[in-house]
Each structure stands twice: as structure tokens, then as C-alpha cells.
């Protein structure tokens, strides 16, 4: 899923302080799971903002709506009939949702309420870690199911580098060395010989480097 984290309150206040009628728009997908921008977080943030502006002696209307998804036309259409009653939208969706909102309602200012961080997994409640950088050409078949592009600080395809110490990365003792994990898996699967296969220079054109990407499936288009 897409993992995000809440922006600091001060930053959010700075974004919206000049507007009177504000819609806080949550999303029921990834940001709900990572507890950054779902219905619950929308409610908490709305209360905190109301209290803040009340203390400042400012009268504001702060409404709460959480959509099934903000990255889908169908759900974003649900607010069309009321969108003109707001001066600004504070979206707690990931960057995709914020932009979809901006695309659709061209004259309404929209602000991000979360920082979109990465594609990752829930290790346990309150701990999410990165697993994928969406490079567009998956190499997991060659790396024992562990991705060095997202999990090695130098995205080294033929690792580990000389900084790997006690299974940890040179940049932090908290961070597993991705290549140590790959080697552990190769060993567990009895495939250590595969370690010596050189991974070719990667074609990064399907990555961010190739420009904004799209996936087209004509067979499912209506």
C-alpha cells in the first residue's frame, strides 16, 4: 500500500489559515490503514483545528468527509454538489488523491494534509516499512524476493557494499542490509550459487527516469 504520515499541525494551519470554509477530505484506502488520513484522522484533525481557530478568535466552518477513494472519479464525484460551498480542501489522501482532486475541481484550492512516503507494508501497528519503488520492471525473481532497489540505500544490484556490518546498513544500525536479507534467503533456499550471477545494468526508462508513466489496458477499457 501507499504509506503516508500526518503533516505537522503547524504546517497544516499555515496552509489553510486564510480560508473560512474548509473541507477536510479523508480517504478510506491506504491512508486509513496506515492511520494517517482515514475517517478517524479526519475527525481528530478537524477537532484540533476547530479548537485552534476558536482560541485565535477566528470563526471557521470545517467540515469532514471521507471518501471510499480519492484516486477514483466515481468517488470524487460524490462531493461535486457541495464543493462550491468551500474556499479550500485539505486532503488527507496520498499525493495521488490530492492531485486527482486538483484535476477535477479546477478552481478550488487543495492542500495536502499528509506526506506521502513510500510503497510499503505494516510490520506491526505503528510501524510501516518500504518494500517497493515502483521501478516498473520487477527484478525480485533475481534477488530472492527481496528488493535492493527499495531496501538498499544505494540501490546496489550486485551487493552488498563494503559498509554492511552485522547485517545492518552503513547508514543506520536500525536498518537491515538488503543484501544480507537476500543472502539469508538464498541460503535458506539452498541457492547460494545464484549469488554469483551478475545482474545487468538496469533499464531505468520504466522508472521515474523515463518520465511520468502510464499503464494502458485496451482489453478492459470501455
Amino acid at each position: 500500500m501507499i504509506v503516508a504520515e500526518k503533516k505537522p499541525m503547524e504546517e497544516v494551519i499555515k496552509e489553510i489559515k486564510d480560508y473560512k470554509n474548509i473541507l477536510l477530505l479523508g480517504c478510506n484506502e491506504c491512508v486509513t490503514v496506515c492511520e494517517a488520513g482515514g475517517k478517524k484522522e479526519v475527525g481528530i484533525l478537524a477537532s484540533a483545528l476547530r479548537m485552534y481557530f476558536l482560541n485565535q478568535g477566528e470563526e471557521k466552518r470545517i467540515d469532514e468527509v471521507t471518501l471510499e477513494r480519492q484516486c477514483d472519479h466515481e468517488y470524487l464525484e460524490e462531493i461535486r454538489d457541495r464543493i462550491d460551498t468551500y474556499d479550500a480542501v485539505l486532503s488527507l489522501a496520498c499525493g495521488v488523491g490530492v492531485q486527482f482532486m486538483a484535476d477535477k475541481y479546477i478552481s478550488i484550492p487543495v492542500y495536502p494534509g499528509v506526506n506521502t512516503c513510500f510503497l510499503g507494508a505494516t510490520e506491526k501497528r505503528g510501524l510501516w516499512t518500504e518494500r517497493c519503488q515502483a521501478c516498473g520492471q520487477c527484478i525480485l525473481a533475481s534477488t530472492a524476493g527481496i528488493c535492493p532497489i527499495s531496501r538498499c540505500a544505494k540501490r546496489i544490484l550486485n551487493g552488498p557494499c563494503g559498509g554492511s556490518t552485522n547485517g545492518k546498513c552503513e547508514i543506520s544500525k536500525e536498518l537491515d542490509c538488503a543484501w544480507q536479507l537476500i543472502i539469508n534467503r538464498l541460503k535458506a533456499m539452498g541457492r547460494m550459487d545464484d549469488y554469483e550471477i551478475l545482474l545487468d545494468i538496469k533499464d531505468w526508462s520504466s522508472d521515474r527516469a523515463g518520465g511520468p508513466r502510464k499503464v494502458v489496458r485496451e482489453d478492459v477499457q470501455e
Partner: protein, 309 residues
Amino acid sequence: MKEKTPSKLEKILASGNLAVTSECGPPRGSDPEAIIEKANLIKDYVDAINITDNQTSVTRMCSLAACIRLKLMGLEPVLQMVTRDRNRIALQSDILGAASFDIYNMLCLSGDHQSFGDCASGQNVHDLDSMQLIQTVRRMRDEGKFIGGDEIKRPPKMFVGAAANPFADPFEIRVARLAKKVAAGAEFIQTQCIYNLDKFEKWMEGVRDRGLHEKVHILAGVTPFKSAGMARYMKNKVPGMDVPDEVVKRMSDRPKDKQAEEGINICVETIQRLKEVTGVHGFHVMAIEWEEKVPEIVQRAGLLPRPEM
């Protein structure tokens, strides 16, 4: 191992002599004197001089310009190149630039992570990794081809090196990793600083078991400690460094004013012991900001005179 380039370092290694290299870190400014001075201190005691490439991710004068300075002095540079800061266009372009000045040696590295340096908030590139850089420069030289497949007019004649750290983890793949670098095309290796000699010799045993010592020239890396404080710092703070407790103790047991001398003694003894190890074809003396001690180390270790080529 047949010679493939005009590199003096390659010739010395091919002749069966023990090679001696050292390194200079470029200055954090544009004054060429800093490089010239360091080079003058060591030039008669080593066969080639590595120029580091923004080591520890701290912004410095570029390795290529400093290598050109050495060439202008009639010396033999080893151009260090990390994959952290440049994509494949810039790497190939700099290789050609170096070749245009007849720089004949190159060391392919991935580089320390930028978080260690003065631009921790910068991007890193890592378009290629160090093994792929080795492959790239070998292909440029041997096939006269760019990565994209086009032909190179006057291909670079680089003797291609790589680093090896016998002490990084996991130890069990350290020989396999060397084999991978050799398969990628590395012709010489400069190792991480060696303080744990037993572990290094164990690694060399594995290297010999696979016959890798006959396919690649291994230059053992040594760095003298200036003080017990430096020994402790290297042990505790530098990633991938293995400094045994007894070495730290040997330094700290000496009074402060005798520690530098003890550091040199350890370094000389290390070289003397490793000279006897089959497959060690030379030494890479990294006297960090202590270049003036290189002559003494090389002389006391019995590595003089340097061969004329």
C-alpha cells in the same frame, strides 16, 4: 595476466614485482598546490597515486582534475570513480575525459552514502553499481563500445581496479564477491585497511582456493594509526572496518607522544607479514592526511627501490 594497457601499475604487477600505491585526497577548494604538495611527498616511493572521489561524501575538488595535475607532474594517477554522484552518461564521459589525458588506471567504487558528508540532503544516483562500472569500462576499452552500443573513437586504455573489503559482512560471501568482481572484469584490487591479519589471511586462503589470485592482482590496503583515538574511531565509527581489540590496546598502551610511532610500527609489521602471503601482489598505503609518513613506511617495509619501467 597479459598487459592490455600502457599503465605503469599494470606493467609492474605483470612483471611480478610487488606494487606500491598510495592515495591523496583532493582539497576542499580550488588550490592545485594542495595536490602537488602531497604528490611530491610520496612520488618517489610509490608506483601510482589514487585520487579519491569525494570521499566520505564530502564535496571536494574532482578526482579527474586532480589526476590531471598528477599527469602534468609526470606521475601515474589512479582515477577513483564512485557511482553515487554520476549517471552512466557522466561516468562514460569522465572516462573519456580521463583517457584524453592518458590516465591509464581507474578504481570503480560505489562510494559512501551521502548521509556521511556535507550534502546529506542531496540525491544519490547509483544508476550503475560498482560491478557494472567495471563492466562498462572494460567494454569501452576491449570492445570500443559505449553502454548504448555505439562505437568509441580512440577507446580508453584503462587498467581496471576495484575495491574489496574482506572484513565486511557477511564474511562467507566475501570470496564469492571478489569472484563476481573478477568476472565483471576487475584486473586489480585494492583492499580495505587491514588490521585483522588473521581474518585477511583466511580470506586470502579462500581466494587462492578458487584460483582468483591468478586472475586478479590484490594490493593489500594499510593505514597507519596516528593515535589511539584514531584506532578507536576506526574500530567503532567507520563502517566495514575490523580493528581487533589487541591492536587498539597496543596503541593505547603507549604514551601519547609515542603513539604515532607505534602506528607506523604496526603498519610496517603488517606489510612485512603480508608480503609473505601468496596472492598479495602489492600494497596500497593510505596514510590519511599523513602523506609525509609514506616514505618511511615504504622504506622500512623493504619495498624500496621502486622498479623503473
